[in-house]
């Protein structure tokens, strides 16, 4: 299954658990699926130099980012036998404990979903121009870097 149109992956603010639950529910009509694999990125309350991260403020080079997300989708559908794939990323403020990235892959068989999900998440971390400002409780900040 391929999808040529570039979608907007971004959502304003945190991705809610209800949204994720509903997204899972919608797949119950797709009865060729045997395995789903979901990755969720959650904002950590990291402690850096005695200061605790209270939120991350996400910005992105949106056009390029959506094009990159699209390329990643295409590459994953090419590489793996997937029934469907969904990616959502937050923009704006996401508090510690909230979810900022939701990647959802489904396939008839399980082996495929493990490989595909890791491939997609690593590609997102490496290739997509999203920027994260870690806001501390005292309102100072630092810039997040993916490792």
């Amino acid at each position: 299954m391929k999808d040529k149109k570039i979608k907007n992956v971004f959502r304003q603010g945190a991705i809610s658990s209800e949204f994720i639950g509903e997204s899972i529910y919608k797949h119950q009509t797709k009865t060729s699926i045997g395995a789903h694999n979901i990755f969720l990125g959650q904002v950590r309350a990291d402690i850096i130099d005695d200061k605790t991260v209270s939120a991350i403020e996400y910005t992105a080079y949106e056009d390029m980012a959506n094009a990159k997300f699209h390329d990643i989708r295409e590459a994953a559908f090419e590489k793996f036998e997937l029934t469907c794939m969904h990616i959502y990323h937050s923009l704006g403020t996401v508090k510690a404990g909230e979810i900022c990235l939701f990647v959802f892959v489904s396939s008839p068989r399980r082996k495929v979903v493990f490989e595909a999900l890791e491939f997609i998440v690593e590609a997102i971390k490496a290739d997509v121009p999203v920027f994260g400002k870690e806001i501390f409780e005292d309102e100072s900040h630092q810039w997040k870097v993916n490792t």
Binding site: I56, A60, M64, A65, P129, V130, F131, K144, V145, N146
Partner: protein, 77 residues
């Protein structure tokens, strides 16, 4: 040549703007960077990549006049 440059994240913090139009008479991205380093001295110490037409490009690339963006380290997810 009149070009548009976009700034993001920590880079936008230095330039104090998200976008600007510049007059540029050179040829290569590296020359454009020299011009920007003069304008924004702290940029020199920062880690960033350059995208032209929404693709990362090396410094030896010819400036095409398309949209150019300065991208600090990615932090998606």
């Amino acid at each position: 040549m009149h070009i548009t440059i976009k700034y993001f994240g920590q880079i936008a913090e230095i330039t104090q703007k998200g976008e600007e139009s510049l007059e540029f008479s050179g040829a290569l991205i590296s020359e454009l960077m020299e011009q920007l380093y003069e304008k924004y001295v702290p940029l020199k110490d920062k880690d960033f990549k350059v995208a032209q037409n929404q693709e990362l490009v090396p410094l030896e690339t010819q400036v095409s006049g398309n949209e150019i963006a300065l991208l600090p380290p990615f932090a998606g997810g």
